[in-house]
């Protein structure tokens, strides 16, 4: 089973890396871009012996404890049960 985890900065937190990308793409001629924010993305493969509920619980715990910093980041978990 595969899970996808998206980690993004909370909207109230400044994102200097995203600002740098925004500035860079404007410099090289991309117009019409209003904002860029960078996040993190993880693909995790889980043993098939887990039920979808167990897998989601385990992955959400891992995302909260290890992959994201809940003080400044939000995360979202998607489960691909067919893969």
């Amino acid at each position: 089973m595969k899970a996808k985890i998206y980690v993004t900065l909370k909207p109230s937190v400044l994102d200097p890396q995203g600002k740098a990308i925004h500035h860079a793409v404007e410099t090289i001629g991309y117009h019409g871009i209003k904002d860029v924010r960078q996040g993190k993305y993880f693909e995790v493969t889980i043993e098939d012996s887990f039920s979808p509920e167990e897998a989601r619980a385990e992955i959400e715990r891992m995302a909260r404890d290890v992959l994201a910093n809940p003080i400044i980041e939000d995360f979202r978990v998607e489960l691909d049960s067919d893969s």
Copy 2:
């Protein structure tokens, strides 16, 4: 309009950062994790004057030229036309 861009290493490319995360989560007691791969995630806000087709073309061009390295990475673009 918002676009989400997911950049992942091609399956044939080794991901030492993902391997390190995998090892670390095993060490602290997460079991049943078979693999972890890390990618990048970008949220881009585009001027509303763009049509969805123009926005997708612009964002795909930006992803290919700037955000991803097409030699070792794949990317996927999703358009949220309602936001």
